[in-house]
Amino acid sequence: MKAYYDLHIHSCLSPCAQDDMTPNNIAAMARLKGLSLIALTDHNCGRNLPAMAACAGEGFVPGIEVTSREEVHVLAYFSNVDSAVSFGELIYDSLPDISNRPEIFGRQTVTGTDDKPRGEVEKLLLSASAFSIEKIKNMVWSQGGCAVPAHINRGSFSVFSNLGFLPAGLFKCVEISSGIPCPPVDSGLFILNSSDAHSLADIAEPENTLENIKSATDFISFLRSL
């Protein structure tokens, strides 16, 4: 059975995302588009994951888009919300003590399952965490998840732009952005194509599929078996 997926979506917790990227709106838009497997991957924090999980139902993968100390974006996926949220707190705690300025970067809103704001996150979530890309991969793995470098072919915050090339043997799966050139990658790598949506309209169309994956548990088992 095929699952149409979008495994890289930002909510209103990410300062760069639109304020209407609330859990119910994201879940509704994903359903409308026929997606059955989605992930929420806010920058360096997982505080909207509980509400998003409640709104999205079974085909929801909790994630965090971590900024490594090399300023490379890495998607950290988990099979359950609690692990993702606690990993997110480790990352958040390591961010430098720089406050967000909403008028410049945008709001960082935590919401409830009713989409109503429950507060704002203080530190700027666009800063880099204290951890190297290798350390992040190992931290995620030891907590039962799996790390996937994000948009490796982008001109910024990517493995290729910041580190020149993929560190040998570090990852089994990578995310490639559609529509922009990508240098050849090792044929043994599994490739995900997700939207990196920051607005509702940018959530993926039903174009990318995974076979026999219905839940976060299935997805994490698959990634860890690669």
Binding site: S132, F160, S161, N162, L163, G164, P167
Partner: protein, 111 residues
């Protein structure tokens, strides 16, 4: 100017063996994709990145040395790789701008 002369002139800290290499140019960038395209044999490359891939890029293009500014820590993994590949890593306590200015005053120009 030789790498040894740079170390003597600046007091910066060589974290690996100092090679008998001539510095013929300098370049500053933290994106390794840019450094791969723009450094060359004899370049002193200033970057705050200290990931192990820095060693591979410096080795690939033949950099005379890599200068890590701001006293940024360099992992054991990176230093081990540097020793294996004969890449010289130098730690400078000053900013990248100040390091570049120092190199310029010592007579090292652009690529």
């Amino acid at each position: 100017m030789k790498v040894k002369e740079l170390i003597d002139a600046t007091g910066w800290d060589a974290l690996t063996l100092i090679p008998d290499k001539q510095i013929t140019s300098a370049y500053t960038c933290d994106l390794l994709s840019f450094a791969m395209a723009n450094t060359q044999s004899g370049t002193a490359w200033i970057t705050v990145q200290s990931h192990v891939n820095v060693v591979a890029v410096a080795s690939l293009t033949g950099c005379a040395c890599v200068i890590i500014p701001c006293g940024t820590s360099v992992s054991e993994e990176t230093l081990e790789a540097a020793k294996t590949k004969d890449v010289c890593i130098v730690s400078a306590p000053c900013s990248a701008y100040a390091a570049a200015a120092r190199l310029y005053r010592l007579g090292i120009g652009d690529i």
